[in-house]
């Protein structure tokens, strides 16, 4: 029973987080954190 609750929570928790993060990142069109970002128009990385 405990196994079911823990694994269920893990699976759905991770899934929700992964989807949320993907959508957030995609909306920015790639990586957001960059140390010299003042005039960076596209946020660094050109390769996904």
């Amino acid at each position: 029973m405990i196994f079911n609750i823990v694994s269920g929570a893990l699976i759905f928790g991770y899934a929700g987080w992964a989807v949320f993060r993907h959508i957030k990142k995609s909306k920015q069109g790639k990586c957001a954190a960059c140390s010299l970002a003042k005039n960076c128009e596209t946020k660094c990385d050109s390769v996904s």
């Binding site: 029973m1 196994f3 079911n4 694994s7 959508i23 003042k38």
Partner: protein
């Protein structure tokens, strides 16, 4: 911490040197414009950051990626520069070097490709060059990393500033420089003499920056007056030409004293290959044949057998282990269902296609690294010109085969804004690797004998649609006369195994990462939607929430040959990432592996409707990440919406034509 900028002409090996100096890995290719945005890495000796900038010929920008560099110079603070110079093209490389030296920051020159230069009969006396310019000159071989240790040692906290370098531009210009310096704000963060010279040369980015600091009218009138004076009193017709000729004369003198050139007239391998690759009539057929061979390898010869093995493992051993494990742990039916019907089906269904995707990436990397890309651009230019684009637009499109996001970004190298916008809008029609699993699934089920051919036809269809639309757009909404095309054709080189594998991995790792994160999450959610319905949990799938969502679309899709809620639901999820279409189908059809899904699909689709479905997936909308990138690169919400809407319309119309037309023809 030091901030060191890495600057040089395009395709001189900056990114290779960057990788060697920082020990990280960035994408390298053999054409101009691989790097379109600056990238930052930590130097191996931990003394500071290294900033890799796009390649430029001069600090006055013509295209968008070059503007990134000019903008960097005026707005960022950095402590020094490494200027990488291509020894075999030293004359024009030094034109940029002079502008860098004028910036009054420490410069280290990395002399690359001395081996290529030697083969051409050019020997450079680094010692003498170093003395004349007053900066260290270090011979390097960027690809292998030779000489990088010396550069590393030179990057110390007390980088020497040698401000002694000044090139005099003659009385007229010097007078104007002095006048401009007086008008510049006293607290200007960039060197005044450099600023004045760049302004006189007509550097638009610097001018924009100075204007943003205050009224530039006084400076503008000096520039204007200087231009007239130069035209009247010298042989040059304007200031920038005059400055260019002064620099050129200086460089010629420099080269006379420190470079030995012998005539060598031996035909290089490049010339021989070019005889065939850019052959007047064989050029385009060779390009198409190369592409076809790529798909033949990816599907028929290598990819499918490997995929089958992987598929066997996932649906066989792995599923058995998981089932046993879950049973032992005492998992409930719900947990078993989410793991086996959701995760294994969804993620596994996509992972099965990893071999195909990596093989395709390996082949694309090979083409990129060899120097063929620029030739492809050359061969395609005439065709592209007819539709209102130029050959350079072809490179972003080929990059788009890997992933549309970098493809859209690569459009920056295109000089004219109109052509750049067109390229941004049309690159998403290139079939990216995320769409590959969808094709692989369907061709496996319906076109087993002609897999490579069918997939190849889809890729070609994407290109044809893009070119047709380019013609339509450029003669209606994006009109404009001016178009330009000049492309550097780098010498061919044999791609190195290690670099090839790295760049393949670099392109492909995103796919695997996505499988572990987003595809995983998406699969769980899709499964949940298919498992639950208005009546509660564990409902028959036809009564699930997912079916309800899919049913909204089904009637609209019916004329295209796939009016089922299953198709509708998977297409909606595909907007987030196109691989998810396959995950969704795997989950919906309740089968743990692609093999049996292919069997089930043949009940739902016919060969014709399957093809119609693939065409729809190819064209329908760019994925979310691409849409976001378009929004950024185009800088316009209107155009972004346009890119989404036109794609949907085209996809619908073409699929309709294919399905209804095919039915009429009796398929």
């Amino acid at each position: 911490m030091l901030n060191i900028a890495l600057i040089g002409n395009p395709n001189t090996g900056k990114t290779s040197l960057f990788n060697n100096l920082t020990g990280t890995y960035q994408y390298v290719g053999n054409w101009s414009g691989v790097t379109v945005e600056k990238k930052v890495g930590i130097i191996k000796n931990k003394k500071g950051n290294l900033i890799d900038l796009p390649g430029v010929y001069s600090l006055s920008p013509l295209s968008k990626d070059e503007a990134v560099v000019s903008n960097f110079f005026v707005t960022e603070t950095f402590d020094g520069m490494i200027n990488i110079v291509d020894a075999s093209q030293i004359e024009r490389n030094l034109l940029l070097t002079l502008q860098l030296l004028e910036f009054e920051k420490p410069v280290i020159i990395g002399l690359n490709m001395t081996d290529v230069a030697k083969r051409r009969g050019i020997t450079i006396n680094e010692q003498l060059l170093s003395e004349k310019l007053g900066v260290p000159v270090v011979p390097v071989i960027a690809r292998s990393g030779k000489g990088t240790a010396t550069i590393n040692d030179l990057l110390t906290d007390d980088l020497k500033v040698d401000a002694s370098f000044t090139l005099k531009y003659g009385p007229i210009i010097e007078e104007s420089i002095n006048q401009i310096i007086h008008l510049l704000p006293a607290n200007l963060s960039i060197p005044k003499r450099w600023t004045a010279i760049q302004l006189l040369e007509g550097n638009a980015e610097v001018r924009k920056y100075i204007r943003s600091l205050g009224d530039g009218a006084g400076i503008d009138s000096i520039i204007q007056a200087t231009n007239e004076q130069i035209a009247d009193e010298t042989a040059a017709s304007n200031t920038s030409k005059w400055i260019y000729s002064v620099r050129k004369a200086f460089i010629e003198e420099l080269i006379q004293s420190s470079v030995v050139t012998e005539e060598s007239e031996n035909k290089s391998l490049t010339d021989k290959i070019d005889k065939i690759a850019t052959h007047p009539f064989l050029g385009i057929p060779i390009f198409l044949a190369t592409m076809f061979l790529m798909f033949k390898l990816t599907f028929d010869w290598l990819g499918i057998p490997l995929s089958d093995i992987l598929d066997g493992f996932i649906s066989g051993s792995l599923t058995t282990w998981l089932t046993n494990g879950l049973n032992t742990a005492g998992a409930s039916d719900f947990i078993k269902a989410v793991v086996l019907d959701g995760i294994v089906a969804g993620v596994g269904g996509v992972l099965v296609f990893v071999p195909q995707i990596f093989i395709l990436f390996l082949l694309i990397s090979f083409l990129e690294d060899s120097g063929y890309m620029a030739r492809a651009a050359l061969v395609m230019d005439r065709t592209m010109e007819m539709v209102g684009l130029n050959g350079k637009a072809f490179i972003p499109m080929i990059i788009g085969f890997g992933c549309n996001v970098p493809g859209v970004m690569a459009a920056r190298t295109i000089e004219t804004p109109r052509e750049r916008m067109l390229t941004i809008l049309l690159t998403p029609l290139m079939s990216c690797s995320a769409r590959l699993p969808v094709y692989a699934l369907f061709v496996g089920a319906f076109f087993a004998k002609y897999q490579a051919l069918v997939v190849f036809s889809l890729y070609v269809l994407g290109i044809v649609v893009a070119l047709t639309l380019a013609k339509i757009f450029s003669s209606t909404i994006l009109k404009g006369e001016f178009s330009m095309f000049i492309v550097e054709l780098p010498p061919y080189r044999m791609p190195q195994g290690k670099a090839l594998l790295r760049s393949t991995w670099d392109k492909g790792k995103g796919f695997i990462k996505k499988a572990g994160t987003f595809i995983f999450g998406g699969s769980v959610l899709i499964w949940l939607l298919s498992y639950s319905g208005p009546a509660g949990f564990d409902v028959p799938m036809d009564d699930s929430f997912l079916a309800m969502i899919g049913n909204v679309l089904a009637p609209i899709l019916a004329p295209l040959g796939f009016g089922t809620w299953q198709a509708g639901a998977s297409l909606i999820t595909g907007f987030l990432a196109k691989e998810v279409v396959v995950s969704a189908m795997n989950i919906i059809y309740h089968v743990p592996n692609a093999d049996s899904l292919q069997g089930l699909l043949s009940n739902e689709f016919s060969a014709l409707s399957a093809f119609s479905f693939m065409v729809f997936v190819l064209l329908y909308v760019p994925c979310l990440a691409t849409v976001a990138t378009i929004r950024k690169e185009a800088g316009s919400v209107k155009w972004t919406w346009f890119s989404v809407v036109y794609a949907l319309v085209i996809a619908y119309v073409l699929s309709l034509v294919i399905y209804q037309g095919g039915k009429l023809l009796g398929y």
